[in-house]
Subunit: 161 residues, 2 copies
DNA sequence: TATTGTTATACTCTATAACTATA
DNA sequence: TATAGTTATAGAGTATAACAATA
């Protein structure tokens, strides 16, 4: 959706943010798809490499639901990039261990991600890119840190079958 | 989803754009919901007010599917903000005419939209806000103008029932 | 034949609920 | 009792197909 603001209005920040984030997301998806990854898979791969983490911990880091995590880990396992290992301290939990192949793919995917990001920043004058990042970081940590409550779209509890 | 970039990487533009656009979208939805509008309804309202436009033209302007347009116009009609009128030049097409009440609501909703945008920009130092807008406009018109093709997510044709 | 608007429906995504096994 | 992970499925959003009227 576009164009929240006609003439004589405040600049249409909604459009600017929505459009750029959408286009960048499609670029990223397309670039990662070339090595068989989704953005979520890359995200889990990278965080699981940093240290031993359970599915729940990885879900929180990637801001996903634990059920979404299940399918993401399923995909990583199926591709031979990760394995579920029982935690030595909690028999309920699974540590997501990255395989050797997974580590290699993670290196590639990180290069891809960095490349897509850098290409966008390089398309700007250096000083603009710098200020853009500073301003965006400020918004993310301050005024636009937390989402508003959903207005009417409250998800109803599902019916008992 | 968050955190495409760990240490030693290019700045995580994906996260910055996704997070800010998501939060701003929830703010906008919540603010517009107070007068019974969705962002789409506001968008159609404003564009239909500018000049006589058909549903298809409005759909293109708002980057929606024509079927999404149908439900949006349904909602506007039900709320008494717009009416479908037969086009005088093409008997297939419907002109979306905004009612008096619709015009008034559009004025309010535009003020709401501007307020949400301005509040975000006011949260930044003036020079940062200026450069942010310049940089975002540059990205939107240049490097991040057009989405990449969807990689695998090709929608299959539906089965004949 | 192509296009506007409509209805109906299928697809994708994600969250909810319910469950098992542990804690 | 609460939590980690799993399965199954409901709900929201949206695109596709088919259609009627008209171009």
């Amino acid at each position: 959706m576009t164009a929240m603001a006609p003439a004589r209005s405040a600049p249409d920040l909604s459009y600017l943010l929505d459009h750029t984030s959408h286009v960048l997301r499609t670029r990223m998806a397309a670039a990662l798809a070339e090595i068989g990854l989704t953005a979520r898979m890359h995200c889990v791969l990278v965080h699981a490499l940093e240290e031993e983490r359970t599915q729940i911990q990885l879900a929180e880091l990637g801001d996903m639901d634990k059920t979404t995590m299940v399918v993401t880990v399923d995909a990583l396992e199926k591709a031979g990039l990760a394995e579920r290992r029982p935690s030595s301290t909690d028999r309920r939990a699974r540590i997501i261990a990255i395989t050797e192949k997974g580590a290699e793919v993670a290196k590639q995917s990180q290069a891809i991600v960095d490349g897509v990001h850098q290409a966008a920043l390089d398309a700007l004058p250096k000083d603009e890119a710098e200020v853009l990042l500073r301003a965006m970081n400020r918004l993310v940590t301050e005024h636009l840190a937390t989402p508003a409550e959903a207005p009417q779209g409250v998800r109803r509890a599902r019916q008992k079958s």
